[in-house]
Structure formats: structure tokens, C-alpha cells
Amino acid sequence: MKKLVLTLFIAVISIAAFGQNKLSTTSGHVKFFSSTPAEDIEANNYKVISKIIPSTGSVVFSIPMQSFEFEKALMQKHYNSKKFLDTKTFPKSKFKGTITNLTDIDFTKNGTYEAAVTGTLTIHGVSKEVSEKFAITVKDGNITGVTEFDIVLADYGIIFKGGKPSTNISKTVKITSNLNYSKESA
């Protein structure tokens, strides 16, 4: 009996301890890529903050918008300006969602798992419900997350009428993210 109580006690403690665990990063990589016959435009950001709580399946992202770097200085200025992302008014893009197939993912066992994530993506002050695939790889305790999806700029109120940007920037841009998470106790 004593043994059973002790086992139960340890089980409860370890579940509670695991439940407290968070996976986090403050240096994730997000890239966006736009391709038109006129030119290809790419921008990279290595300051993405993200957190996953394995026990609840909660996934959040916070992206400092001025940390996107372009090859050309002029493009970077255009991107930040009021006409496009207006990064002074909206300095961060955020995502808050949950993994809907949490039982398919074992954060303690090596492997690559395809997480289905549903939540709210806020860019340029506009929030949209999105559902995307997030590939989670567990390797010897190290956890990485990779995702790739397209966004339609007009969905987030980013519309350019006429001029060079309307021919040089595609209406749909590809977002790729690659994050190395580390364990953090709450």
C-alpha cells in the first residue's frame, strides 16, 4: 500500500513537473519570399520569439517586424513604411494557437511529427484564423519546429495600387520558419 501511494505520488509529481515545462526560443528564423517575373524578394528575421507548452499544446509566436532584413536598403525602407507593413504602428506580428493533434506528438521520443496548428495570426493589425502544418523534430532532447505556408497580403490589409511595388511584389508571399527550441522551466 505504501509503495502504491509512493508510486502515485511520484507519478503525480512527474506529470506536474512535465506540465510545467515549456519549450522556448528568442532567436528563431523566419523568412519571407516573394517571386514575380520582375524580381525575387527575400527578407530574413532571426529575432523571432516562440513558445510551446507540450502539456497543453499551446503555441505562440511574436515577430519583431523591424528585424526583417533585405538585400536592398530601399526595399527595406519600403517594406517598413506606412504604405506597406507600417512597422512603427504595428511593431510586432503575433500568433496564438494550439496543436489539435497533440496525442500524435511525443516530445520525449526521437522522431519527426506533423503537428496541426490552428489559431489567430495578427499581421499589420489584422487578425485572421489560420490552420497550418508545423513539423516538430525531436532529436536527443533537442526540439526544432519548421513550417512553410503562403499568406495573401490583401487578407491583412496590405494593398499596393499601381507603381513599381504592384508589379515587383507578388500578391501572395511564402513564409518559412525554422526554430530551435530549448527547455525552460516555468
Binding site: H29, Q66, K88, K94
Partner: protein, 155 residues
Amino acid sequence: MASMKSKIFKLIAILVIIALGYGVYMWFMPHRNIQNTKAFATIDATTLVNEFLSDNKKATNLYLDSEGESKVLIVTGNIATISEDQLGQQVIVLKNASDKMGVSCTFTVETNKQVENLKIGTPVKIKGVIRSGAEYDEDLDLAENVIIEKSAIVK
């Protein structure tokens, strides 16, 4: 008459050259050199964080630029953590033990070496460009540091 025509032709030619020159300049316009830019202010890490926490709008207006050319700052504080980001850039977080949030300063390939001999707890002065402010996002349960990039140690 002929000289009038040639004058107009010359004028047009000059204007075309100026326009082309401007176009080429804009296309090849270099990125701002942060370390050669005069710092807007020298500020303590705790003070900078608190400015954002007490009035985010006011601090954002003061430090961020609408075209992304935000203020260059010299931030002073004690080193709380030293890490490396996914691009291999060194990252120093300046934060006092009693503060919830700090100032994250990312170095560059050129300035990474300056971090080599630094130790946790050492007071330093770091110059860089601010990208975003500190914030506690209750909805996401995230405590977000001030983000400074293109950093270098200032003696």
C-alpha cells in the same frame, strides 16, 4: 534655330542622366551603418525597459522610425546571459536581477569577437539599433525584451 534645338537636346540629355543616376543610386543605396551613426541617447537597460512598460505608445513613437531607420542607442547594464542565435550571431541580454525583462543585444559577424572574453555580471556599454520595445503580452504569456541589433561594445 539649330542652336536652340541642340540646347533643348542637351538639357533633356542632362535630365535623363540625372534621373538615371538617381535611379542607380536608389537601387544600390547602401544600408545604414549603425556604428557610424551618432547615438540618439545613452540609456540604462532598466530605464529603457521601464519606458516601454509604463507607456508603450510614447516609447515606440520616440524610438521607432516609420521607415525602419529606428534610433541608434548606447545601452548600459550588466550582462545577464550570453548566447548565440541561429545565424551564429552573439546575443547579450542586459538585465538586472530584479527586472522581469531586459535588453537583448545582437552582435554581427564583424563584432562577434568582442563578446568572447565577456563574463556574466560584467557591466558593459553596447551600441546598436533598436528594433522593438519591451512588452509583457498577457494573452501570449510572453515577457519580451527590448531588441537591439547590429551591436558593438563601446569603450
